[in-house]
Structure formats: C-alpha cells, structure tokens
Amino acid sequence: MNIIPTIGMETHVELKTNSKMFCRCHVLDTESPNESLCPTCLGLPGSLPVPNKKAIEFITLLALSTNCSITNDGMFHRKNYFYPDLPKNYQISQFDLPVGTEGSLEIVVDGEFGTVEIERVHMEEDTGKSTHIGSGRIDSATSTHLDFNRAGIPLVEVVTKPLIKSSKEAVAYIEELRQLVIDLDISEGKLEKGNLRFDANISVAHEGDKELGTKVEIKNMNSLKSLEKAIEYEISRQTKMLIAEENIIQETRHWDEKKEVTSSMRSKEGSADYRYFSDPDIPNMILSNDFVNEIKKIIPELPSQKRKMFIETGLSIEDANNLGKNKNWIGDLYRSITKITGDSKSSFNWVTGELQGQLRKLEIKDLPNWVTPKNLSEIILLVKEDKISFTSGKEILANLIEQEIVPEEFASENNLIQENNIEEISKIVEEVIENNSEVLERIANGEEKLIGFLVGQIIKISKGQVNPSVAKELLLKEISS
C-alpha cells in the first residue's frame, strides 16, 4: 500500500516598515545590539502598544493577493509563554480572528500549475535574538545574551493547509510567496537575512487513510535547498517508521545543516498551552470595507498575472515563471522585444541569458540608455535569420553595451555577415573536398568526427563568413553523392 506524505507550511514574513509594529522605534539593519528600544518593545510597565498603519496596509495587501477573505472585525491576542527573547512574556499575535482566512496561491512545479491552499494570514511581532554562551553544546550554555533590536518588528505569519504533497511543491510555494512579497513591495524577501523564515509540518499515512498521520514540525531550514532536503529526509524517516509499525511522536525537530538529518529538540515543558486572550491594551482591529477597497486599488501586477501575460506571448509556463522572477524592467524589455521579433523563445533566451549574463559580468545594474528594444531586436533577428552567427551576435551585444552602435552596420564593418549564398558556399565546399581526399577516405572508413575538421576548413577559407550549419549540410550532401 502506498504511503502518502502531507506537508503544511508556516512562514514568517518580516515587513519592511520604517518603525516597529507597536512602537515607533526604528527598524534597524545593524549588528550593534540593543540600539533601537523603547519602553514598549522592552515590555516595561505602563507602556502602551499602538499598531503601525503601514503594517496593517501591508498585511491586507498580502491577504488580498493570496485570495483570502478579510476579517473586518478582527483583534489582537496575547500569546503567553516564558522565553527571554520576548521581554513581555507574551507575544502580541492574532488567534481566532486573523486578518485573512481561506486563501490560495498559484504555484509552478515542474513546468505545471499547482495550487496551495492558505489557511490564514495573521499579524504579529518579531522576537529578539538570543545567543547561547558557553562551551559547545546548546544545552551546556552558561548564559543567554539578548539583543532586542528585532523585537517588535512587524511579522506576518502565513499558514497553509496541510495539503502540500512533496518537497518540490513546498519549495515552489516558498518561491512564489517570496516573489509575491517582493512584487507587493512589503518585504525585502531575503532568505539569507531572515526576512522569510519557514517551518514545515510533516506527516505520513497510508493512502486512503481517513486521518492524517502524527504531525512533526521541522525548524531551522535557512534556504530552499535545506527546505527540500529536510522534507525529503523527514518523509523517508517517517515512512520507514510507519512500515516498521513504530510509533511516530508528535514533536519539533531541528534540521541539522551539516549532518543533513532532523533531530529531536528538547521539548518545552507544557509548551502547547499559550493561554491566548484578547489584548486589553489594543482595541478591536476594524478593517472597514472602505479601507479594504482602497488597498484593492493599489495591488500591483502580481506574479501570477505576469506569468499569464508572458504565457500569452508564447512562452512555456516554466520560462514565464522564471522571467517573472527577474526585476520588472527585464520583463518589460522582454515584452517590447518579443513584439518586434515575433519570437518569444529567442527573445526570452537573449534577454534572460546573454544580456543579463553580460551585464552581470560587467557589474552593470541598469541598462545603458542607448540599449533599446529596437537595437536588441536587430541583433536577435540577424542571428535568427542566419545573417550572423550566434557567436557574432554575442560579440555585437558586448559592443552595444559598451557604446552606441547600429548592429547591422557593425556586423558589415567587422565582416560578421555570413555567406548564405548556396552557390558561393558550394564552390568552397568543392575546393575543400578536392584538397582533402585523404581525409575523405578516412571519413568513409568510419572516422566521422573528421567531418567537423572539414567544416572548419570551409569556415576558414570563407574567413568566418559561412554559416557552419549550412556548410555542414552542403558538405554531407556532396560526400554522400
């Protein structure tokens, strides 16, 4: 009987506001600890939290863009737990009335569309950073050091339904969510900086079972690579246990990046009981229909819409998805170029491959203003119509990035235009055949790789102006006749 894995994702998105969620301390990107604190984010008695308007706008944008229903009459709750990374001994979060519920997100897996169901999108505050000091192992620490700069930064938690079926789907989902928050301009979306942090809930069950298996939570995955590996590892660990009829324990496990295994974390005593209650310091969060409608008006073009538009130009789902991951100007440039060339695949390859590659090599961030859709299209069409070789196209592009040139003129001036006149090429082919009877004999005896040598001779005699594929075709025709 088949064993089926089920995955749910919990993702924290750090919003890019100027000030914190419930106080007006700066959101700082600094290594110096404890530089941005006030009585509110330090949890001092008598301080009062006031929610950040921008953060509420940002989460509403995200909830709407993930097709969630908006809770008009929501509220903040206190999530109580004793851990020193939150000085108040509770985190302000949302419990049963989150900003968004019952949404969905379109994803692309292996070049095909999929859907991830979103359970909820809620607002909360980030915790401080704790460092455990001592020799070696975390549980032999002698003290814990705390930096509260991050405490109170607005955080959105996005929780999916446990309907994800593979590590690939989970990775595609995080990639999509990341692109979404970047396009919405509500988060830096940098995984390496912790702007996006994710945990995975994984269980396995026999196909057809009515109930899901025991859920295990995996933490500490810092990259998409480690997310994929951790899920794969955990599915195989649980599958083996299920087959052996061993008891899978509901627990939190840590992904060990070096050993590439998950291991059990010592569980917090009585941790499951957070005793949520409505925060008496913060009035109900009413999101009026007027407010929500205003936010609807400022939703930019979403990744799924960009994809759709790119697909309409003729790109595959995969290419359209990859194009959407680039800066907006790359997508815009592609759109203009493909209109001129009428060839979506070459336009895509040139823009995302050659052009971006050369710009990256030269460490150029913005396109020089003389590099236009028009002259880029000219290069693409010269190659497409076999007037110049692909290599020459790259050379012309490199020159165009450096200075204002007209591609076709540059090609003529530098003898890059290929000879496509069959009669002219045939003459050269005949000449080469006449002068290489020995080589021809060896080819006849099975040394087929020597065909390449002869093609090289043809190109050499033509001073590089013969299209190699045309030369080869004519050569083979001559030999076989």
């Binding site: 301390c25 330090l42 308007k53 509220m75 020193p84 000091i133 975390i138 109900n284």
Partner: protein, 94 residues
C-alpha cells in the same frame, strides 16, 4: 467546580511555585471566578449586546514614522546584568 481546576498545571504555566496552602487558596479563588462566568453565560442576552473585547472603542493606528528611542545606555540601565551591549540572562533553551 473547584475539582475542575488543575492548579498545579496553572502554576506551572505561570512559572510560579506554590505551597499547599497557596494552592488551596488560589484554587478556591479561581473557582469563584469561573462560577461567575458560568452565571454570566446563563444570562439571556441578544447577540449584538455581547462584546468580545473589553475595550468598546475603535482602533487608532499610528503613522509609520520612526522616532527617537532610548539610548543604548538607557535601554540597558535597568538590566541586572549585561555584557557586550547585550542583556544577559540565565541559560535558556530554544
């Protein structure tokens, strides 16, 4: 009512130590509170009169304009222990 309260668990969640006498007294106090809520829930009230929030006011949001915080020195001034600009607390596990 009092037998429904697991006072030891409540004390553990609140991270406080209670002796037997305190346990008995608090258990009694808590059951009185719960009985009070039981009485409230038996009242016949129209739905729209039920408030789920203690504050009957609408929410004021703050503009996202950062302002001056405490200085680093001020922020750490009440800490029993600090080192390298960080607060120092007894070891705690994730």
């Amino acid at each position: 009512m009092a037998d429904k309260i697991d006072i030891k668990n409540v004390a553990k969640l609140a991270s406080i130590k209670l002796n037997q006498e305190e346990e008995d007294r608090l258990k009694n106090d808590l059951s009185m509170i719960i009985e009070h809520f039981d009485a409230l829930s038996k009242m016949d009230l129209p739905d729209d009169k039920i408030s789920i929030h203690p504050l009957g006011m609408s929410l004021n949001l703050a503009e996202d304009i950062a302002s001056k915080s405490l200085t680093h020195k001020e922020a750490l001034s009440n800490a029993p222990e600090s080192k390298d600009g960080q607060f120092v607390v007894p070891p705690s596990l994730d």
